[in-house]
Amino acid sequence: MKELEKTKRISISTVLFILVLIIGVLTFKQPRNVYKKTQEETLSALKSTDYLVHLEDIANQDPVIIDVRSKSEYSISHIENAINIPTAEILENKSIALLSDVKNTGETAFIYGKNPDEANSAWMLLYQLGYDNTKILNVETNHIDNKLVVKNYSLEKPIANYLEIFKTITPEKVEQIKKITPKPTKKVIPVKKKKKRKPEGGC
Protein backbone atom coordinates (compact mmCIF):
# COMPACT_ATOMS: atom_id res chain seq x y z
CA MET A 1 0.00 0.00 0.00
CA LYS A 2 1.73 3.05 -1.29
CA GLU A 3 0.12 5.65 0.90
CA LEU A 4 1.14 3.89 4.13
CA GLU A 5 4.73 4.90 3.38
CA LYS A 6 3.93 8.59 3.34
CA THR A 7 4.05 9.18 7.07
CA LYS A 8 5.67 12.58 7.11
CA ARG A 9 2.45 14.55 7.44
CA ILE A 10 0.81 12.31 9.98
CA SER A 11 3.81 12.39 12.30
CA ILE A 12 4.05 16.20 12.11
CA SER A 13 0.36 16.61 12.86
CA THR A 14 0.41 14.09 15.71
CA VAL A 15 3.37 15.80 17.32
CA LEU A 16 1.62 19.17 16.95
CA PHE A 17 -1.55 17.72 18.46
CA ILE A 18 0.35 16.35 21.45
CA LEU A 19 2.20 19.68 21.84
CA VAL A 20 -1.05 21.64 21.90
CA LEU A 21 -2.42 19.29 24.55
CA ILE A 22 0.72 19.55 26.69
CA ILE A 23 0.80 23.36 26.45
CA GLY A 24 -2.89 23.52 27.27
CA VAL A 25 -2.50 21.30 30.33
CA LEU A 26 0.62 23.08 31.59
CA THR A 27 -0.85 26.54 31.26
CA PHE A 28 -4.08 25.44 32.88
CA LYS A 29 -4.57 26.26 36.55
CA GLN A 30 -7.46 24.83 38.44
CA PRO A 31 -10.01 27.36 39.58
CA ARG A 32 -8.87 28.47 43.02
CA ASN A 33 -12.13 29.00 44.74
CA VAL A 34 -14.81 26.47 44.08
CA TYR A 35 -18.34 26.68 45.39
CA LYS A 36 -18.75 24.39 48.38
CA LYS A 37 -22.38 25.25 49.02
CA THR A 38 -25.12 24.74 46.50
CA GLN A 39 -27.70 27.44 45.88
CA GLU A 40 -30.30 25.57 47.93
CA GLU A 41 -28.04 25.40 50.99
CA THR A 42 -27.30 29.10 50.69
CA LEU A 43 -30.99 29.86 50.37
CA SER A 44 -31.84 27.87 53.48
CA ALA A 45 -29.07 29.74 55.32
CA LEU A 46 -30.68 33.01 54.24
CA LYS A 47 -34.02 31.98 55.67
CA SER A 48 -32.65 31.69 59.20
CA THR A 49 -31.44 35.18 60.07
CA ASP A 50 -28.85 34.05 62.62
CA TYR A 51 -26.12 35.37 60.35
CA LEU A 52 -27.12 38.90 61.34
CA VAL A 53 -25.44 39.88 64.58
CA HIS A 54 -25.76 43.07 66.60
CA LEU A 55 -22.79 44.99 67.93
CA GLU A 56 -23.45 44.36 71.62
CA ASP A 57 -23.57 40.58 71.13
CA ILE A 58 -19.88 40.55 70.28
CA ALA A 59 -18.81 43.32 72.65
CA ASN A 60 -17.38 40.84 75.19
CA GLN A 61 -15.02 38.38 73.43
CA ASP A 62 -12.45 39.92 71.09
CA PRO A 63 -13.82 38.92 67.68
CA VAL A 64 -12.20 38.95 64.22
CA ILE A 65 -13.83 41.87 62.47
CA ILE A 66 -13.50 42.43 58.74
CA ASP A 67 -14.18 45.84 57.27
CA VAL A 68 -15.20 45.65 53.61
CA ARG A 69 -15.22 49.40 53.01
CA SER A 70 -12.62 50.99 50.78
CA LYS A 71 -9.16 51.79 52.09
CA SER A 72 -9.82 55.53 52.36
CA GLU A 73 -12.94 55.10 54.51
CA TYR A 74 -11.09 52.53 56.59
CA SER A 75 -8.20 54.92 57.12
CA ILE A 76 -10.56 57.66 58.31
CA SER A 77 -12.11 55.57 61.03
CA HIS A 78 -12.98 51.98 61.76
CA ILE A 79 -14.00 49.72 64.60
CA GLU A 80 -10.95 48.96 66.72
CA ASN A 81 -8.72 46.04 65.54
CA ALA A 82 -10.84 45.54 62.44
CA ILE A 83 -9.04 44.10 59.41
CA ASN A 84 -9.62 45.91 56.15
CA ILE A 85 -10.44 43.74 53.11
CA PRO A 86 -12.30 45.82 50.48
CA THR A 87 -14.98 43.76 48.74
CA ALA A 88 -13.03 43.78 45.49
CA GLU A 89 -10.14 41.94 47.13
CA ILE A 90 -12.19 39.45 49.06
CA LEU A 91 -11.02 36.62 46.79
CA GLU A 92 -7.34 37.54 46.79
CA ASN A 93 -4.94 34.91 48.10
CA LYS A 94 -4.11 37.03 51.14
CA SER A 95 -7.70 37.38 52.28
CA ILE A 96 -8.58 33.77 51.44
CA ALA A 97 -5.59 32.63 53.48
CA LEU A 98 -6.66 34.81 56.38
CA LEU A 99 -10.23 33.52 56.22
CA SER A 100 -9.20 29.88 56.00
CA ASP A 101 -6.97 30.09 59.03
CA VAL A 102 -9.74 31.90 60.89
CA LYS A 103 -11.94 28.98 59.92
CA ASN A 104 -9.33 26.45 61.05
CA THR A 105 -9.05 28.06 64.45
CA GLY A 106 -12.81 27.79 64.68
CA GLU A 107 -13.47 31.49 65.31
CA THR A 108 -16.16 33.39 63.49
CA ALA A 109 -15.36 36.44 61.42
CA PHE A 110 -17.74 39.40 61.48
CA ILE A 111 -18.10 41.46 58.35
CA TYR A 112 -19.34 45.03 58.38
CA GLY A 113 -19.48 47.90 55.89
CA LYS A 114 -21.22 51.26 55.57
CA ASN A 115 -24.50 49.32 55.80
CA PRO A 116 -25.45 45.63 55.88
CA ASP A 117 -26.12 45.63 52.10
CA GLU A 118 -22.47 46.20 51.38
CA ALA A 119 -21.42 43.51 53.82
CA ASN A 120 -24.03 41.17 52.39
CA SER A 121 -22.39 40.68 49.01
CA ALA A 122 -19.04 39.80 50.56
CA TRP A 123 -20.68 37.54 53.12
CA MET A 124 -22.77 35.61 50.57
CA LEU A 125 -19.79 35.00 48.32
CA LEU A 126 -17.70 33.75 51.21
CA TYR A 127 -20.55 31.61 52.52
CA GLN A 128 -20.96 29.91 49.15
CA LEU A 129 -17.22 29.28 49.00
CA GLY A 130 -17.51 27.30 52.20
CA TYR A 131 -16.47 29.90 54.80
CA ASP A 132 -19.66 29.46 56.78
CA ASN A 133 -18.08 30.79 59.97
CA THR A 134 -18.69 34.38 58.85
CA LYS A 135 -21.48 36.64 60.04
CA ILE A 136 -22.69 40.13 59.16
CA LEU A 137 -22.56 42.93 61.72
CA ASN A 138 -26.00 44.41 61.40
CA VAL A 139 -24.77 47.93 61.90
CA GLU A 140 -24.72 51.20 60.04
CA THR A 141 -21.45 53.07 60.31
CA ASN A 142 -21.01 56.74 59.46
CA HIS A 143 -18.33 59.16 60.39
CA ILE A 144 -19.72 62.11 62.37
CA ASP A 145 -17.40 64.82 63.80
CA ASN A 146 -14.38 62.58 63.30
CA LYS A 147 -15.80 59.85 65.43
CA LEU A 148 -17.19 56.62 64.06
CA VAL A 149 -20.82 56.24 65.06
CA VAL A 150 -22.02 52.68 64.86
CA LYS A 151 -25.77 52.26 65.10
CA ASN A 152 -27.81 49.12 64.94
CA TYR A 153 -29.63 48.91 61.66
CA SER A 154 -33.26 47.85 61.48
CA LEU A 155 -33.22 45.67 58.40
CA GLU A 156 -36.01 45.47 55.86
CA LYS A 157 -38.54 47.22 58.12
CA PRO A 158 -41.33 48.85 56.07
CA ILE A 159 -41.97 52.46 56.96
CA ALA A 160 -44.73 52.41 59.53
CA ASN A 161 -47.52 54.27 57.82
CA TYR A 162 -46.75 54.41 54.14
CA LEU A 163 -50.18 53.09 53.28
CA GLU A 164 -51.87 56.19 54.72
CA ILE A 165 -50.21 58.28 52.04
CA PHE A 166 -52.84 57.16 49.60
CA LYS A 167 -55.67 58.50 51.72
CA THR A 168 -54.63 61.74 53.39
CA ILE A 169 -52.57 64.17 51.37
CA THR A 170 -54.42 66.14 48.67
CA PRO A 171 -52.07 67.36 45.98
CA GLU A 172 -51.42 71.01 46.91
CA LYS A 173 -51.67 73.36 43.95
CA VAL A 174 -48.23 73.68 42.53
CA GLU A 175 -48.93 77.02 40.89
CA GLN A 176 -45.80 79.00 41.57
CA ILE A 177 -43.93 76.85 39.07
CA LYS A 178 -45.89 77.44 35.90
CA LYS A 179 -43.25 76.12 33.52
CA ILE A 180 -44.59 73.09 31.71
CA THR A 181 -42.96 70.14 33.37
CA PRO A 182 -40.47 68.83 30.86
CA LYS A 183 -41.37 65.41 29.50
CA PRO A 184 -39.14 63.08 31.55
CA THR A 185 -36.37 61.87 29.36
CA LYS A 186 -37.40 58.43 28.24
CA LYS A 187 -34.57 56.26 29.39
CA VAL A 188 -34.53 53.31 27.03
CA ILE A 189 -32.97 50.26 28.60
CA PRO A 190 -31.36 48.55 25.61
CA VAL A 191 -32.78 45.05 25.74
CA LYS A 192 -29.82 42.82 24.82
CA LYS A 193 -31.26 40.44 22.21
CA LYS A 194 -29.41 37.31 23.31
CA LYS A 195 -31.05 34.26 21.75
CA LYS A 196 -29.80 31.04 23.35
CA ARG A 197 -29.79 28.72 20.34
CA LYS A 198 -29.58 25.06 21.30
CA PRO A 199 -27.25 22.95 19.18
CA GLU A 200 -29.19 20.42 17.12
CA GLY A 201 -27.26 17.54 15.79
CA GLY A 202 -27.53 14.11 14.43
CA CYS A 203 -26.82 12.77 11.04
Binding site: F17, G201, C203
Partner: protein, 175 residues
Protein backbone atom coordinates in the same frame (compact mmCIF):
# COMPACT_ATOMS: atom_id res chain seq x y z
CA UNK B 1 1.86 3.64 -16.10
CA UNK B 2 0.97 6.99 -17.63
CA UNK B 3 2.02 9.81 -15.36
CA UNK B 4 -1.51 11.09 -14.83
CA UNK B 5 -2.84 7.56 -14.44
CA UNK B 6 -0.15 6.74 -11.91
CA UNK B 7 -1.10 9.31 -9.34
CA UNK B 8 -4.83 8.87 -9.82
CA UNK B 9 -5.08 6.41 -6.97
CA UNK B 10 -2.56 7.84 -4.53
CA UNK B 11 -4.60 8.86 -1.55
CA UNK B 12 -3.61 10.33 1.77
CA UNK B 13 -2.20 8.23 4.54
CA UNK B 14 -5.43 6.95 6.22
CA UNK B 15 -4.14 7.95 9.66
CA UNK B 16 -3.58 11.47 8.39
CA UNK B 17 -7.07 11.56 6.88
CA UNK B 18 -8.52 10.22 10.14
CA UNK B 19 -6.55 12.77 12.13
CA UNK B 20 -7.86 15.66 10.06
CA UNK B 21 -11.37 14.25 10.25
CA UNK B 22 -11.00 14.09 14.05
CA UNK B 23 -9.92 17.72 14.14
CA UNK B 24 -12.85 18.60 11.90
CA UNK B 25 -15.28 16.88 14.27
CA UNK B 26 -13.79 18.79 17.21
CA UNK B 27 -14.14 22.01 15.21
CA UNK B 28 -17.77 21.19 14.36
CA UNK B 29 -18.66 20.42 17.95
CA UNK B 30 -16.82 23.52 19.13
CA UNK B 31 -18.59 25.81 16.71
CA UNK B 32 -22.09 24.41 16.46
CA UNK B 33 -22.41 21.93 19.31
CA UNK B 34 -23.46 19.14 16.95
CA UNK B 35 -21.62 16.51 14.97
CA UNK B 36 -21.42 15.81 11.26
CA UNK B 37 -24.19 14.17 9.30
CA UNK B 38 -25.06 12.89 5.85
CA UNK B 39 -28.22 10.82 5.58
CA UNK B 40 -30.41 13.62 6.87
CA UNK B 41 -30.07 15.29 3.49
CA UNK B 42 -31.69 12.43 1.63
CA UNK B 43 -34.56 12.58 4.07
CA UNK B 44 -35.03 16.32 3.50
CA UNK B 45 -34.83 15.73 -0.24
CA UNK B 46 -37.48 13.04 -0.14
CA UNK B 47 -39.72 15.10 2.12
CA UNK B 48 -39.52 18.13 -0.17
CA UNK B 49 -40.25 16.01 -3.22
CA UNK B 50 -43.22 14.32 -1.59
CA UNK B 51 -44.35 17.71 -0.35
CA UNK B 52 -44.33 19.07 -3.91
CA UNK B 53 -46.26 16.09 -5.18
CA UNK B 54 -49.05 16.16 -2.62
CA UNK B 55 -48.99 18.52 0.31
CA UNK B 56 -51.80 17.02 2.35
CA UNK B 57 -50.19 13.60 2.12
CA UNK B 58 -47.16 14.91 3.95
CA UNK B 59 -49.38 16.45 6.61
CA UNK B 60 -51.22 13.20 7.28
CA UNK B 61 -48.25 10.87 7.19
CA UNK B 62 -46.90 10.53 10.72
CA UNK B 63 -43.28 10.61 9.66
CA UNK B 64 -43.35 13.44 7.14
CA UNK B 65 -45.41 15.73 9.31
CA UNK B 66 -42.53 15.93 11.76
CA UNK B 67 -40.45 17.78 9.17
CA UNK B 68 -43.02 19.85 7.38
CA UNK B 69 -44.86 21.33 10.35
CA UNK B 70 -45.46 25.04 10.13
CA UNK B 71 -43.26 27.27 8.04
CA UNK B 72 -40.17 25.14 8.71
CA UNK B 73 -39.25 23.98 5.20
CA UNK B 74 -37.34 20.68 5.25
CA UNK B 75 -34.64 22.19 3.04
CA UNK B 76 -33.73 24.81 5.64
CA UNK B 77 -31.65 22.25 7.46
CA UNK B 78 -28.03 22.35 8.66
CA UNK B 79 -27.27 19.13 6.81
CA UNK B 80 -28.40 20.43 3.46
CA UNK B 81 -25.82 23.22 3.59
CA UNK B 82 -23.21 20.81 4.87
CA UNK B 83 -23.85 18.50 1.93
CA UNK B 84 -23.42 21.37 -0.50
CA UNK B 85 -20.02 21.86 1.11
CA UNK B 86 -19.24 18.13 0.87
CA UNK B 87 -20.04 18.13 -2.84
CA UNK B 88 -17.80 21.14 -3.41
CA UNK B 89 -15.00 19.77 -1.23
CA UNK B 90 -15.02 16.36 -2.88
CA UNK B 91 -15.03 17.95 -6.33
CA UNK B 92 -12.09 20.14 -5.30
CA UNK B 93 -10.07 17.20 -3.99
CA UNK B 94 -11.03 15.05 -6.97
CA UNK B 95 -9.95 17.69 -9.46
CA UNK B 96 -6.65 18.23 -7.62
CA UNK B 97 -5.84 14.53 -8.08
CA UNK B 98 -7.66 14.48 -11.48
CA UNK B 99 -10.06 11.78 -10.45
CA UNK B 100 -12.97 13.58 -12.08
CA UNK B 101 -14.81 11.67 -14.79
CA UNK B 102 -18.09 9.89 -15.32
CA UNK B 103 -17.51 6.19 -14.85
CA UNK B 104 -18.77 3.21 -12.96
CA UNK B 105 -16.21 1.66 -10.64
CA UNK B 106 -16.72 -2.06 -10.44
CA UNK B 107 -14.62 -5.17 -9.92
CA UNK B 108 -13.36 -6.56 -13.24
CA UNK B 109 -15.25 -9.78 -12.60
CA UNK B 110 -18.75 -8.27 -12.65
CA UNK B 111 -20.63 -6.32 -15.30
CA UNK B 112 -21.61 -2.69 -14.92
CA UNK B 113 -25.29 -3.64 -14.80
CA UNK B 114 -24.79 -5.96 -11.83
CA UNK B 115 -22.80 -3.30 -10.03
CA UNK B 116 -25.55 -0.72 -10.55
CA UNK B 117 -28.24 -3.18 -9.39
CA UNK B 118 -26.30 -3.92 -6.21
CA UNK B 119 -25.66 -0.22 -5.69
CA UNK B 120 -29.41 0.46 -5.91
CA UNK B 121 -30.16 -2.46 -3.57
CA UNK B 122 -27.50 -1.31 -1.12
CA UNK B 123 -28.85 2.23 -1.29
CA UNK B 124 -32.40 1.18 -0.52
CA UNK B 125 -31.24 -0.93 2.42
CA UNK B 126 -29.02 1.85 3.69
CA UNK B 127 -31.75 4.47 3.36
CA UNK B 128 -34.11 2.27 5.32
CA UNK B 129 -31.56 1.42 8.00
CA UNK B 130 -30.41 5.00 8.39
CA UNK B 131 -33.93 6.18 9.15
CA UNK B 132 -34.58 3.39 11.63
CA UNK B 133 -31.33 3.98 13.49
CA UNK B 134 -31.71 7.74 13.17
CA UNK B 135 -28.24 8.12 11.76
CA UNK B 136 -25.63 6.71 9.40
CA UNK B 137 -21.96 5.99 9.80
CA UNK B 138 -20.87 9.61 9.82
CA UNK B 139 -23.87 11.00 11.73
CA UNK B 140 -24.65 8.46 14.40
CA UNK B 141 -21.49 6.37 14.58
CA UNK B 142 -18.71 8.90 14.10
CA UNK B 143 -20.28 11.93 15.80
CA UNK B 144 -21.80 9.62 18.40
CA UNK B 145 -18.44 8.09 19.26
CA UNK B 146 -16.92 11.56 19.56
CA UNK B 147 -19.15 12.20 22.59
CA UNK B 148 -19.13 8.55 23.71
CA UNK B 149 -22.84 8.16 23.04
CA UNK B 150 -24.02 4.61 23.66
CA UNK B 151 -26.35 4.77 20.66
CA UNK B 152 -23.45 5.72 18.44
CA UNK B 153 -21.35 2.77 19.60
CA UNK B 154 -24.20 0.32 19.23
CA UNK B 155 -25.00 1.58 15.73
CA UNK B 156 -21.32 1.42 14.72
CA UNK B 157 -20.89 -2.10 16.08
CA UNK B 158 -24.04 -3.38 14.41
CA UNK B 159 -23.16 -1.77 11.06
CA UNK B 160 -19.64 -3.21 10.90
CA UNK B 161 -20.69 -6.44 12.58
CA UNK B 162 -23.37 -7.33 10.05
CA UNK B 163 -21.21 -6.00 7.24
CA UNK B 164 -18.43 -8.43 8.19
CA UNK B 165 -20.97 -11.27 8.54
CA UNK B 166 -22.50 -10.67 5.12
CA UNK B 167 -19.21 -9.87 3.40
CA UNK B 168 -18.92 -13.51 2.36
CA UNK B 169 -22.09 -13.33 0.28
CA UNK B 170 -21.05 -10.26 -1.68
CA UNK B 171 -17.41 -11.17 -2.15
CA UNK B 172 -17.91 -11.81 -5.87
CA UNK B 173 -18.81 -8.11 -6.27
CA UNK B 174 -15.61 -6.82 -4.79
CA UNK B 175 -12.67 -9.17 -4.93
Amino acid sequence: MKESKKNRHVYWNPYFGGFLLGLLIIFTFYMTGRGLGASGVMKSGVVTMVDQVSHEHTLHNAYYSKFVSGDKSPMNNWLVFETLGVLAGAFLSGSLANRIGFRVQHSPKITVKRRLVFALLGGILFGLGAQIARGCTSGAALSGMAVLSTGGFITMLSIFGTAFLFAYFFRKNWI
